[in-house]
Symmetry: C2
């Protein structure tokens, strides 16, 4: 599979504060000051986290007057779920390349879990 975009997404998500930000934004667009009310850290720290999320392609920013509006990118939601399913699926994309390795067993079971 292609790790080029998936790994940066995982890195950006692998921080409890940023994960909570994503959770907040899964609700919809929020400005920085609204997000900040949910945390104990400082405003520059939030600014840093938002930059990380943007660079990972998770969030977009739109300036409206004084406010910076942050939105979860639909493309991220789609890509992250697809990449995750592809990673954990034991299917034709198995790294053994031909699906014939001794380890390519229990495919049906794994697929059940992933597609349901």
């Amino acid at each position: 599979m292609d790790y080029q975009s998936y790994v940066p997404m995982l890195k950006a998500m692998a921080d409890p504060n940023r994960l909570k930000i994503i959770d907040l934004l899964s609700c919809g667009t929020l400005c920085a000051c609204d997000i900040l009310t949910h945390f104990e850290f400082s405003q520059p720290t939030l600014s840093h986290h938002m930059k990380v999320l943007q660079q990972a392609g998770i969030v977009t920013a739109q300036k409206v007057g004084k406010w910076q509006h942050y939105t979860l990118k639909p493309a991220f939601v789609i890509a992250f779920l697809q990449d995750t399913k592809q990673l954990l699926a034991n299917d034709a994309d198995c790294i053994c390349h031909d699906g014939s390795c001794d380890n390519c067993q229990d495919q049906a079971t794994r697929k059940d879990v992933i597609t349901k």
Copy 2:
């Protein structure tokens, strides 16, 4: 949502080499020496990465003679996909707690993406 197990999983996955190990194991059980052939780093480094994956609940180890057999935990596959869907879903579990915030819009669209 509950970040207690999800964040450590994300942390463990957010390294390109460990992600490749997970990809390899999504094929099925492998011993350490087999995994090592796919990488440039040293044996102690692999040992370190496998420990991280175990502590995150992603992988189980079983010693068979000299060999350590590593397997992707089915519970991880299930939990990680569920947590991911719950995080990215814009549903009743929205952090606003009552689904009534101004931002709770476009729910139908997001849900389409996640459940299909």
